[in-house]
Every structure is written in C-alpha cells, then in structure tokens.
C-alpha cells in the first residue's frame, strides 16, 4: 500500500515526485524506460541567453534530488492497467501490482506516424527516435538522412543531429494523401511555421550561421515558397518538394523526392533520387493517455492541445477521486511547462494526503505554470492558451452537470 504513485519519470513526473517528497509524502515512481527523464533526456538547445538547455543534465539533477528525498523508482516496468477498487487505485505492471491512494499519470506524449510508401524499412524511424539514439544512446541513427515533416520539433532535432555529426540532406514534406493531409500541404506547413516566428525562437536562428539571424523566417515570408528551399543551420528546408517513396532492398537506401505545386500535388517528371541511410518521420506529438482512458476518465478532443486529453482542472485533478494528470498527457507543451504542472500535481496530492496549509502554494503554482507558458521560447501549438481555456470550460460544465444530477 502506497500513499502516492507516479507513472512516468519525465519532467512532470519527476517534479511531482520531488514536490510530494518535500512535503513529507511517500512516493513511488514507475517508468518503462531504463533511466529517468522521459522526453526531457533528448532535449538539447540554446536558450535565449546563450546557455545550453541540456536535457540529460536536467534529468539527472531532478532524479538525484528525488533519490535524496527518499523517492523510490521502478524502471523497466511497464504499467498494463489501472483500476479503482475500494477507494484505492490498483496499478498493474509486468512485475508487481501496486496499491495507492493518489495516482498521477505523467505518461507524456507519443509521435503521430506519417505513413509514406516504404516506411516499414529498417532505417526509417520517428524523429524522436533519432533524437534519443543520438543524444541519449550516443549512436548515430545513420550517416546521412532525410527528415519527412517540417515542424518545430523536427527543425530542432535536425539541428541536434547535425551537432552530433550526422548529415541531414533536407527537411521536406510527405507526399499529400488522405492520411498525411495538413502535413503534406505546403501552405498549412508554412502557416504553422509563421505562427511560431513571432516568438523568434532563438535556437532556430542563433546556432550555426551568423548570416541566418532572423532571415530564415523572413525568407519564408518574403519569397513565398522559394524553389530551392531555405537553409537553416545549412540544412535545406524544402516546402516545394515531397517524398513520394522511401526505397531500399532490405534497409533504407534512399528517398524519391518530387517537386510539388502550392497545393501539394506532385509535378510529374520532377522525381529525383536522394541516397540516404536513414529517414526520420516527424508527424508531431499527441498526448499519451491510454491509462486515463482505461480508468474511465472523460476525454475531450482539443486540437490546440494536440488531441484527446483527459478532463482535468488547474489543480491537475481529474473527475476521478485520487487520479491526477500532469505534463503532455494534458496537452503538448515544452518540458518547463510540464515541470510546472508537475509541481501543482505534487502539491494537490500532498494536500489530499492531509498536509495542511498548501492552498496558497497551490494557487501560486498554478500562476507559475501560466507564467512559464507565456515565456516559453517554443510553443508547439500557437493557440495553446485557447486550448487550455477550452478544457477548463469543459471541467466547469462537467461539475455543474454533476451538481444538477445530485439535486435531482
């Protein structure tokens, strides 16, 4: 029997664990990966002040802090199911079954696949996979690759791969089809890139070439769809080309790249072969929320948050007694926002455990999350605040329906 169990040891889970432990609450953290950090591990970018955000260092610091506070960790342990029974949460893993009063789901996000012909060949991987291989496992995903899918995440990871000595032939689009939809439409992609340009994300424009400065976004805007593409850290970004096929006998040997028109349709006869030994697919992130679903938590589709998210309030409570959520399971945002949410979730669980006098601290923590969100250098969705409001409105609606049904 445990007081608090946290599933996921990423920025949200680790921060929540530290917060609980600091308030004298016993915590167990479960994660299926080998080490703590989650998606934070792979992160590596330059801050606006010129210092480097090193995800491995951040993870290690948080992990060691948690260990020193007596938090217990179970790594390499996948959770298969959770259920509520006699006022407790039962957590079923591959190894043991755990029982707890408070349960935090900090399971993070998963990458959306973008099916491209040939994508099952060995050597094709999600862009996050290449990031983990390079920065965490320290093995090159290949010598030369192409990234299919142009978005904030893929642009940052392209820079990280180049930093490690991996050549990126180009970032480009998938051929438009029923499934790739927006990701294959140059107008939509350009739109989404211009949405982030007002934040002038410095990791985009600072690193590498001094010539770039803000020119990258300017060029995009001024030369609407430049035919040769634009370069970022010397990596060509092609919005006028798309991969029609990944080819190779037993492994990736190259991609077929074709010119596309402004609507994303292939110009016939424009196909060329680009030899590469790996391909990254960047379809963006969505909240990884299966455990909230099996628990019976209500869900809402909020596009601005990246997909279906479990209903929750600003205190990170779900409508299910003792079940909490924090981090990307609540919507796709950066690690710093996830950590801020983790603090709030940790405080909320400590409060429910009977620790007195936390109300003001919880309110401060909610405000801090907003501040962190507003000052984030990179936002995955430009309308994130709209999404946050939507889910809170759903929470209010849900609570008032519940009150009405009690009255009857």
């Amino acid at each position: 029997m445990n007081n608090t169990i946290i599933i996921g040891s990423g920025p949200a889970g680790l921060t929540a664990a530290v917060t609980c432990a600091e308030n004298g609450v016993d915590v167990v953290v479960i994660d299926e990966y080998m080490i703590a950090g989650g998606r934070l591990l792979g992160q590596l970018y330059e801050e606006p002040n010129g210092s480097w955000w090193n995800g491995i260092k951040e993870s290690t610091t948080l992990y060691e802090k948690a260990i020193n506070l007596g938090v217990k960790f179970h790594f390499n342990t996948a959770v298969n199911n959770i259920e509520q029974s006699n006022g407790l949460w039962v957590v079923y893993t591959e190894k043991d079954t755990f029982y707890t009063s408070n349960l935090l789901l900090a399971t993070g996000a998963a990458e959306s696949p973008v099916p491209v012909p040939g994508w099952t060949l060995p050597g094709v991987m999600s862009v996050g996979a290449a990031q983990v291989m390079t920065n965490v496992q320290r093995v090159k995903p290949g010598e030369r690759g192409v990234i299919i899918g142009v978005n904030v995440l893929s642009a940052v990871i392209a820079m990280e791969l180049q930093l490690a000595g991996v050549e990126i032939a180009c970032l480009t689009l998938p051929k438009r089809n029923r499934i790739t939809m927006k990701a294959g439409d140059p107008r939509k992609v350009l739109d989404s890139l211009l949405h982030v340009s007002h934040m002038a994300p410095s990791p985009f424009v600072r690193y590498g070439s001094k010539l770039m400065k803000n020119d990258f976004m300017k060029k995009l805007g001024v030369n609407f769809y430049p035919k040769k593409g634009v370069k970022m850290w010397d990596i060509p970004i092609q919005l006028r080309k798309a991969v029609t096929k990944i080819y190779g006998e037993d492994e990736v040997e190259g991609v077929t790249l074709a010119t596309i028109n402004a609507d994303g349709e292939v110009v016939s006869g424009s196909e060329e072969h680009i030899p590469v030994d790996f391909v990254c697919i960047a379809g963006g992130l969505y909240p990884l929320a299966e455990l909230a679903a099996v628990a019976g938590c209500p869900f809402y589709l909020v596009e601005e948050l990246g997909g279906y998210v479990p209903l929750h309030n600003e205190r990170m409570e779900t409508p299910l007694e003792g079940l909490y959520v924090a981090g990307n399971i609540t919507g796709i945002e950066g690690a710093k926002v996830a950590a801020a949410q983790g603090t709030t979730a940790g405080l909320s669980m400590a409060h429910r455990s009977g620790i007195k006098g936390l109300d003001n601290t919880i309110n401060d923590s909610i405000k801090m999350t907003e501040q962190t969100r507003n000052s984030a250098p990179i936002q995955f969705h430009p309308e994130i605040e709209v999404g946050r409001k939507k889910i809170l409105q759903q929470w209010e609606a849900y609570q008032s329906t519940k009150r009405e049904s009690i009255c009857y």
Binding site: Y33, A78, A129, N135, R138, V139
Partner: protein, 113 residues
C-alpha cells in the same frame, strides 16, 4: 566505421565505457553495458531486428521509446521484448523472430478457430 558519438561538442565524452559481449542471431557482438539493445545493435551496423510475422518483410526500431513495438525480439528466451527498452548485459542472448507459418483461409484457417 564507428557509429558511436564518443565525443559530443555540448554533451561531452562518454564516461562509462564498459564493453560487454552479447549474441544476436547466434553471432557474438560487443556493446556498452546498460545501453539499449537496439542501440548496441545499431552501433554494430545492424538495423534489421526481426521479420514481420505475416509478410516476412524486414523491420527495425521505429519510435525507440517503447510505444510502437516494432523492435520486439526474444531476449534470453523470452519473446516479444522491446529492444529499445532493454539494457544490454554481459552474455545476453537475443534473437529475432521470423515469418510464422499461417494456415491458409481456404483450409479453414484462423478465421474459423
């Protein structure tokens, strides 16, 4: 040819360099202790981890963090283990699974069972 990033301009040098031996499909390889099995194999130039149970097409790791199950292999006799989540140990024995025999539908195969 080395695929390892032994030195990195920001992350620095790899500190733990304890090489261990393991076997994959009956061949002996070396890898770093506690790195993922998928990483150890990739560092040895191996991308194909299994062949699809039905089509027999080659497959490698895809998501690298345990979500997609594309990298499943057998490890020390246990089937369906995700290579991307498995820390490499001395003497580990890994094998890829291959195409499975399926009874055809005309013979009243799986659908009628």
């Amino acid at each position: 040819m080395t695929r390892r990033i032994l030195d990195h301009p920001i992350l620095g040098k790899i500190e733990d360099k304890n090489y261990v031996s393991f076997t994959f499909n009956h061949k002996v390889y070396k890898g770093l202790e506690n790195e993922s099995l998928a990483a150890a194999l990739l560092a040895n130039g191996i991308r194909t981890l299994r062949h699809h149970e039905e089509s027999g097409s080659p497959r490698g790791f895809y998501c690298n963090i345990g979500h997609c199950y594309e990298c499943r292999v057998s490890v020390d006799g246990q089937q369906g283990i995700r290579a991307c989540l498995t820390p490499l140990k001395e003497g580990m024995i890994a094998e890829s699974s291959g195409q499975l025999q399926t009874s055809s539908k005309e013979d009243g195969g799986l659908e009628n069972e």
